[in-house]
């Protein structure tokens, strides 16, 4: 729920409650006021009726006016208290009950006790009260509506800077070279928020750039000494007469140095993928990459007598970095060839939505949890780096692909689902 909706609802419910309560209280206070006015009027009438009766020596009072009725009943005993009350009287002309205020009192005129009742219609005052309450209610509803509109509008203005900030945060990209510019606000809280965010992003960006610089420098700084080691060892090899023992020692050193440089460049690659340093993106065709790769690995596949089964839907393309697309597919296929058995199968499936590389191999399933760990090595290839699937997983994570391992019908299947990412040409 948006903050604005929330505050509006709160405001609405509380004010409705208060106004409802207020109107009821108002109605009763009006009622009380009106009743006391009517009572006073009837008191005046009481005096005039008694006077009239004494002067006229009669029990019949003046004919009542339209809003008033007087009922005089002779009684035996006189009771002293006056009684005010509300009562309903049936109006024959209008065929309905009408509300009257009633004053009953006893009086002794010419030695005769009378019980006299004065009835006064409340019809008009009632109508007035209803009109006043209605007018007030309408006014209050209008006031609430106006308040809501004003509140909404002013909130928009006040929170505008905040929503802008949220939007900028969502779209913030460390790789983008633009500054983190936020809309100015004159609200202190938002100013604080923006200041904090700016400081934070500046710090993060700074750290990120340092890290980025470090990976690039590390690549250069480590690869160059390695290049020197390798080339010097290669030169040493050419230098001529050496004993077999020396050659073998040299070979081991050379091999180790080559592996070290491969490790280094692979780790740098992983860091680069993690740092999203492959922003370039274009349409790539998995089929083209597979074709290229199969041609390159043709000899290996033939030597191992691997049967390649292609189930490739034509014209499937992916929107991603071409280098990473190649790395992804190369690593999967490379594993499928490397861990394959002589005379085995390699099944390549590409469809809109997924890429699946399956291969024959050891007859037992691998542990999926260990598989994607860095430096996981199967017993059949102890000399591999163990980073291939880590690269696959990093690339998939970068693009939101889902990569899974399954062992079914004797085939080790690696499935990469692109789903939303796939486009048909």
């Amino acid at each position: 729920m948006r903050l604005l909706t929330k505050t509006t609802l709160n405001l609405l419910s509380i004010s409705l409650f208060i106004y409802l309560f207020g109107i009821i209280a108002f109605y009763y206070s009006l009622r009380v006021q009106v009743d006391s006015n009517v009572n006073k009027e009837m008191d005046k009438r009481k005096a005039s009726i008694v006077r009239q009766m004494e002067e006229a020596h009669s029990s019949v009072a003046q004919p009542p006016n339209r809003n008033e009725m007087v009922l005089v009943t002779p009684v035996e005993r006189k009771s002293s208290a006056d009684r005010y009350a509300d009562t309903l009287i049936f109006n024959k002309e209008e065929q309905r009950y009408q509300l009257y205020r009633q004053l009953g009192f006893h009086d002794k005129v010419n030695n005769q006790n009378y019980f006299i009742q004065i009835f006064k219609s409340l019809e008009e005052t009632d109508r007035l009260i209803v009109r006043i309450i209605t007018t007030m209610t309408v006014l209050i509803v209008l006031l609430i509506i106006a308040l809501l509109v004003v509140n909404r509008y002013s909130s928009r203005l006040v929170w505008g800077a905040f929503y802008d900030t949220v939007d900028k945060i969502n779209r913030y990209d460390l790789n983008a070279h633009e500054d983190f510019a936020l809309q100015e606000s004159d609200v202190k809280e938002f100013k604080d928020l923006n200041r904090g965010l700016k400081a934070m992003t500046a710090r993060i960006k700074n750290d990120y750039l340092n890290l980025k610089e470090y990976t690039e420098n590390a690549s250069h700084e480590i690869q160059t000494p390695l290049a020197i080691i390798n080339s010097k060892l290669e030169l040493l090899l050419q230098s001529g007469e050496m004993s077999e023992k020396q050659y073998r020692a040299l070979a081991d050193a050379y091999e180790a140095s080559i592996r070290l440089s491969k490790y280094n460049s692979t780790l740098i690659l992983l860091a680069k993928i993690e740092n999203k340093q492959f922003p370039e993106s274009k349409k790539v065709s998995p089929e083209a990459i597979l074709d290229n790769l199969l041609e390159n690995l043709d000899d290996l596949i033939r030597t191992k007598k691997i049967e390649v089964i292609r189930k490739i839907t034509p014209d499937v393309s992916l929107q991603m970095n071409p280098y990473l697309a190649e790395m992804l597919i190369v690593n999967l296929v490379k594993n499928a060839v490397r861990h394959n058995v002589k005379g085995g199968k390699l099944v390549l499936k590409v469809d809109s939505g997924f890429l699946q590389i399956s291969n024959t191999g050891p007859e037992t399933a691998l542990d999926e949890n260990l598989l994607f760990k860095r430096y996981f090595k199967s017993s059949s290839s102890p000399e591999s780096l163990g980073l291939g699937l880590a690269i696959v997983q990093k690339i998939c994570a970068l693009y939101g692909f889902d990569v899974r391992y399954q062992f079914q019908e004797g085939l080790h299947c690696m499935t990469v689902r692109f789903d939303n990412k796939v486009e048909r040409v």
């Binding site: 690039e216 690549s219 250069h220 690869q223 160059t224 390695l226 290049a227 020197i228 080691i229 390798n230 080339s231 010097k232 290669e234 030169l235 090899l237 050419q238 077999e244 050659y247 073998r248 040299l250 070979a251 050379y254 091999e255 140095s257 080559i258 592996r259 440089s261 491969k262 460049s265 740098i268 690659l269 370039e280 790769l293 390159n296 690995l297 043709d298 000899d299 290996l300 030597t303 071409p322 280098y323 190369v330 490379k334 490397r338 290839s381 000399e383 591999s384 780096l385």
Partner: protein, 225 residues
């Protein structure tokens, strides 16, 4: 062939020079950008080996300069920057090859040989070594004028051997030449062995001398001495 090595790392330059001198090339060295510009303007070279990160400037700018002055020269970029952008940019502005550090000297040498053949024979060339004849443009190989039946990889292997004749070529160097980054070197050694076995059999069958020697599990040597 006269080659200018533009590389700020002195030890690495020395190693390259030593290896290439042994191949009969004439090598000169420049350690900085300005140094390189001066040398390129003063002397004619057949080939430049350029590092991208140089003190005083970028190797890519150096290549742009050479191309602007229309100097005809082969260019090989040698860089630690294993980024696709640099590779593509380097090749787009006119470099012939791009090698990532650390590289094998034999690989650099093979590329220089191919540039050398292109410059000296204007592309239509034959490569003759004793009874072996290669036509690189057509990917065909002959022994005593009989055509060898070779797979693409076997042909590449033979060309690589001839380019680096009399040198010990490590298995790692061979693997990288044949499959690039696509195979971890350790995996491909078995395949190298198979390819070399096939190549040797084919050469011997057509009456070629057995030049390929195995050096203690370390690598191979195409020995024509």
């Amino acid at each position: 062939m006269k080659i200018l090595i533009i590389e700020d790392e002195v030890t690495l330059s020395e190693a390259i020079v030593e290896y290439l001198d042994g191949e009969g090339h004439l090598c000169e060295v420049a350690y900085t950008y300005d140094d390189a510009v001066e040398k390129i303007e003063l002397y004619p070279y057949d080939c430049l080996v350029v590092d991208i990160n140089l003190p005083g400037g970028s190797g890519l700018d150096l290549i742009r300069l050479v191309k602007k002055k229309s100097i005809t020269v082969g260019i090989i970029i040698v860089s630690a920057r294993n980024s696709l952008d640099n590779r593509i940019e380097g090749l787009e502005i006119g470099a012939d090859h791009y090698l990532t550090k650390p590289f094998h000297l034999a690989e650099l040498n093979a590329h220089l040989k191919s540039i050398h053949r292109r410059i000296s024979f204007n592309g239509s060339n034959e490569l003759v070594l004793n009874e072996i004849k290669l036509i690189p443009d057509e990917h065909r190989a002959f022994v005593l004028d009989q055509e060898l039946v070779l797979t693409k990889k076997e042909y590449e292997l033979l060309l690589f051997f001839i380019s680096n004749k009399n040198k010990i070529i490590t298995k790692a160097g061979l693997a990288e030449h044949l499959w690039g980054d696509h195979m971890d070197s350790a995996d491909s050694y078995d395949f190298i062995y198979t390819h070399i076995k096939n190549l040797r059999r084919e050469l011997l069958k057509k009456g070629c001398m057995d030049y390929i020697r195995t050096i203690y599990g370390l690598g191979y040597k195409f020995d024509v001495t």
